[in-house]
Symmetry: C2
Subunit: 657 residues, 2 copies
């Protein structure tokens, strides 16, 4: 890949982005799309914006950018909660670190790479990208100190900024806990694994236990009930009944008839609506109804879990943090999540299963990570055209055309990878549900970590390793040679990851902005199903489990390629700037905040950044080893040790908060 | 090495043991050795035993064995505390497990090994030991299911017994906490890292903080003071003064004069004793004395650590377990150790240093572990006579004699290794002091773990790996081949480890019984320095940090060699039986219990046993792979997974207690 191919790819993507942005600024002005682009405002029933006149609606304007840029942090905190602030802090942190890194690498490392060998330089557009990477520096060069110095500057600034951010965020967390108006969840403790006794019900056990051991501060408790399957069926049936018999339904049927979308006539529905009356009279149904009233316990079974309320926050905190029983698997207490944050169905999982569920999901995640190698290896093959041509000789003619060649090498692989990756977050979310987390925020955090491991392994490592040594996955069988292997492999993949930034980064942000799925859904409901009520929009919360790993992956790419292929950094900086605007806009307008996670995602972010830094340094070690610069390699070792010590210090200093 | 060499080695050791035991039973009857063999009784001023008549004193009797065997567990608990009981439970657990293992392996695995190949068997005494190991089973043999079955039985019985022991010990711990008479330490919390303020002293800060946040339950506090160097010098000087001027000292001098042990005459000492008066009058000394009285703070400096007393156990528990401050590095609270258990000098270490001290000692321990390779590799060379002969040709004549040959291969290596290993526990103890543990029991536990890692690495792994592939230490560079490498290497080292059991195990126990160092010290003080007072005996507590790793190492050897070289197990069983008697006797008679650690060593024992089991299974995997038994190898994998799951379950179920 040469510079012109890179620029082609960049140009395609910038074109796509500009197109999508213009489209967005037009679409958002259409009153019919209000539920797609202003979901939060609709949900909170805020005063409607002034609709622009019909003509202005079709002129793209950048007003939303200004709005997103100007909104102060306090407003975002009020709207999106601490989670949103923490997410934006990740982007701001990346912006700051990579500003420093770009400055250092473009003005110090890039010239060293370019003039690294005495060679005849072609004109820049037809220059190969490899000339700009560290591969162009000759072995034993004295100029390698520039790379070493750059790595030191990047590490120091990253650590400093990490510390500042962690301190800010922990202060914010404490202020949030202190300042929030007395919140029910702060007085409540979730008790699980209440022991079964034949004499007493669970509720009586809880009462006896807490009035004995926490008599002064115990206020009351609320058992968790399990609605059995029959109960659910009954509730569903009742819902359908009321729905079918309502006036509204026949209206809807008329619409359906009008549009002719369904095959049947409106009569089909009317017949059903009358039959529903007869269902009510059915013997079986009436029996069930009676049983519910006679034996409520059959349909509302007590679960060995309860919420216990205390008189003071301190008592609740003490009850949540201390061991309650001599058997640590009984009377397990924990802080109760916020009411909206509780993941009810997981409260019914017996506590004894949870450790085994965690292990099983962990193993399944690992297996999935390795199974995913198959599509990734295929994608990787596309960037090596020669191999593709050997495998599929009939493609040879097509691939020899220059434009198609550039599209295939520059664009297609990352698009395919992107499509495969789209399936991952829902799978991980399902795994996290199975895992048994009792809060939605905990589930999302767990899914976020899983997706993070997944993308870093499958996007970074697999591409890097299979790219250089295709069909040789056993590279990790010799730990000693890992730095050298990585140092050989990483620079060769610079071009792939640059196009990945264009497609997954820039274009991904535009797609995030334009929200294709809700838009299509909205179009269908409005223009085909002809529904008009604005209340039927779907409101959903911010998908931290997909967006945090994405931003962190780009940060990871930035660190690892910083001294190897500094040409990547300016593009990355553009990505982070664009991301800041887009996500601020989305938090302000689109997503609603259903619950407050309290910014507990930051430690994972911190650890990931430290991992990226250390990996960068290990690759640096390998690179200096390959380039026969013992001084450089020697300087890397204290840097690695200092970075790990810094991480350990931060863990001691901040982690328990 | 053949069977007769093994029996020679065993015979030598049994002879040595019998000799030492007879010597012990004679020595313990001498009234002059009372302070060596009945230190605990003397320390606690128990009624003196009836001294046997002069003639009987020189006849060896086994009465102590009966006494040690018959003492009930309650008495040992009262005498040695929970730590002693836990230590004896380790031996009893090993006895039980290896009884099962010996039964299974001797009657099932040993015949399979012996008749594993169709070969002409020599007479048993001249049969090579390799005939009894798994190396004798031919590849693809159908009889390998016996080894697989044996491993399953051993694992299951070990897990079952581990669970029972863990449950017993946790019950004992809980009963100990419940039943112990109200103990000061249970109402006390150790606070460290009290923040410095210019307005208030540390003491005032503690008072203000705890009366604000724990007003209801706070009772009082005691600051920790640091006696400066000058203060120490003054105290030492005062001690010397009083000592020198005392009547006692001149008496002692006369003794010295009598025995003529020292070069100088008694006058030398008398001159000093008169000068000491003039020291008292010295201007400098008087000044110092005055300063101490005027400015006590100069000599008694407050340290940012305090003991805080609470009204109830519960309040103390809550204060110890909850986070006190928004900065987790300030106001660090923890359960206070028992008064005798406190390691005072470590209380003065600033809390900020502790994490870095831990990391540094960890790294230093790792470095020491690897530096120790040098002597071990040398020792290992001795078991390979051919290599030794090649290296030192002049030894050839000597080594060709049969008896010397047997001594060198069978006895010398483990004696040398033993001497080197003697230096390790004091070093690890020093490391653990530097680490910053605030209690003596914590320090001993930490040293115990360090010694354990050390012996398992240096005695087991290094011997196994360097024995088979001398000068190839880079075996761990390929994780995949570890099972195969171990499977190849471990059986070849069976003879070395059998002799190790004789020397370090049997002879080591006899030496433990006879207590050579205190005995020699006692002889010198009595017969050369002519001191007669029995009070001058040295009393010391049980060295758990050397004995626990030793017992666990033998357990580790037992597990790993169980199916590979079953001939080892009967010898090991003898060791554990002997160990039980010896250690019971020592706990009853010799060691005093200065503090109660509460049996917190058991989790480390549990983890070590699980590690041994999993390693055995991994070696089994390698062995079945080498012997081309895919079924056997396939059966190992679920066993490994189940063992790890069992460990995880135990951690959940018992660990927080």
């Amino acid at each position: 890949m040469n510079v012109s191919a890179l620029l082609t790819s960049a140009a395609i993507n910038i074109g796509v982005c500009v197109l999508l942005l213009s489209l967005y600024s037009v679409l958002r002005k259409q009153p019919s799309n209000l539920s797609v682009y202003f979901g939060r405002r609709l949900h909170q029933a805020l005063p409607r914006r002034h609709d622009p006149p019909r003509f202005e609606r079709f002129i793209p304007t950048p007003s939303w950018i200004l709005k997103a840029w100007e909104t102060p942090e306090e407003e975002i905190l009020a709207i999106g909660g601490l989670d949103a602030i923490v997410f934006l802090r990740i982007i701001i942190f990346s912006l700051r670190v990579f500003s420093v890194a770009t400055f250092v690498c473009v003005f110090l490392v890039l010239p060293v790479n370019y003039y690294g060998q005495e060679m005849h330089h072609k004109q820049i557009p037809s220059e190969s990208l490899e000339v700009f990477t560290i591969e162009n520096v000759k072995e034993g060069s004295r100029w390698l100190w520039a790379h070493c110095l750059a790595l030191y500057i990047i590490t120091c600034s990253a650590c400093l900024l990490l510390y500042v951010e962690y301190k800010n965020i922990s202060t914010m967390r404490l202020e949030y806990i202190k300042a929030s108006s007395p919140n029910l969840s702060q007085f409540t403790v979730l008790v699980r694994s209440i022991p079964w006794s034949e004499q007493k019900s669970y509720s009586d056990s809880v009462f006896a236990f807490f009035s004995k051991y926490h008599g002064n501060s115990y206020l009351g408790h609320q058992m968790v009930y399990w609605c059995g399957t029959i109960r659910k069926l009954v509730t569903d049936a009742q819902k359908i009944c009321s729905g079918v018999s309502s006036e509204d339904f026949s209206n809807k049927c008329k619409h359906l008839l009008n549009c002719g979308f369904c095959g049947g006539s409106a009569k089909t529905f009317r017949v059903l609506s009358k039959e529903s009356e007869s269902v009510k009279d059915n013997v079986f149904y009436r029996d069930l109804d009676a049983t519910i009233k006679e034996k409520p316990l059959l349909f509302k079974q007590e679960v060995p879990a309860a919420f216990v309320f205390f008189r003071t926050r301190f008592a609740a905190c003490v009850a949540a943090e201390t061991l309650q029983s001599s058997n640590p698997m009984l009377w397990v207490t924990d802080f109760a999540p916020e009411p909206h944050d509780i993941y009810w169905s997981n409260l019914c999982i017996p506590y004894r299963q949870i450790w085994i569920r965690k292990i099983v999901t962990l193993l399944t995640t690992a297996v999935l990570m390795f199974l995913f190698l198959i599509p990734v290896t295929f994608v990787q093959g596309l960037t090596h055209l020669e191999q593709l041509q050997q495998a599929f000789p009939f493609l040879k003619n097509i691939l020899e055309k220059k434009f198609i060649n550039q599209v295939v090498t520059g664009y297609l692989p990352s698009v395919i990878l992107l499509l495969f990756l789209l399936a991952v977050p829902p799978i991980m979310m399902a795994f996290s549900s199975v895992e048994g987390s009792v809060s939605r925020s905990g589930r999302k955090k767990s899914a976020c970590c899983k997706v993070l491991y997944f993308v870093i392994w499958n996007v970074f490592f697999v591409n890097v390793l299979s790219g250089s040594v295709i069909s040789q996955i056993s590279v990790f069988s010799s730990p000693k040679s890992i730095p050298t292997q990585l140092a050989k492999a990483v620079p060769t993949q610079a071009s792939f990851f640059m196009t990945y930034i264009f497609t997954s980064g820039w274009a991904g942000l535009s797609i995030e902005l334009i929200q294709p799925l809700p838009l299509i859904y909205n179009l269908i409901t409005r223009h085909i199903l002809r529904r008009k009520d604005e209340a039927c929009n779907w409101s959903y919360s911010f998908p931290y489990h997909t967006e945090v790993p994405r931003v962190l992956l780009f940060g990871h790419l930035g660190f690892t390629f910083s001294i190897l292929a500094p040409l990547m950094l300016p593009f990355l900086l553009c990505y982070f700037l664009f991301a800041l605007l887009v996500y601020r806009n989305q938090i302000l307008n689109v997503y609603i905040t259903k619950y407050e996670g309290g910014g507990q995602i930051w430690p994972a972010v911190h650890n990931c950044t430290i991992f990226s830094l250390v990996l960068t340094q290990i690759i640096g070690l390998g690179v200096f080893g390959l380039k026969l610069s013992t001084v450089g390699a020697g300087f890397m070792i204290p840097l690695i040790i200092l970075t790990l010590l810094f991480n350990e210090y931060c863990r001691k200093r901040f982690s328990p908060i």
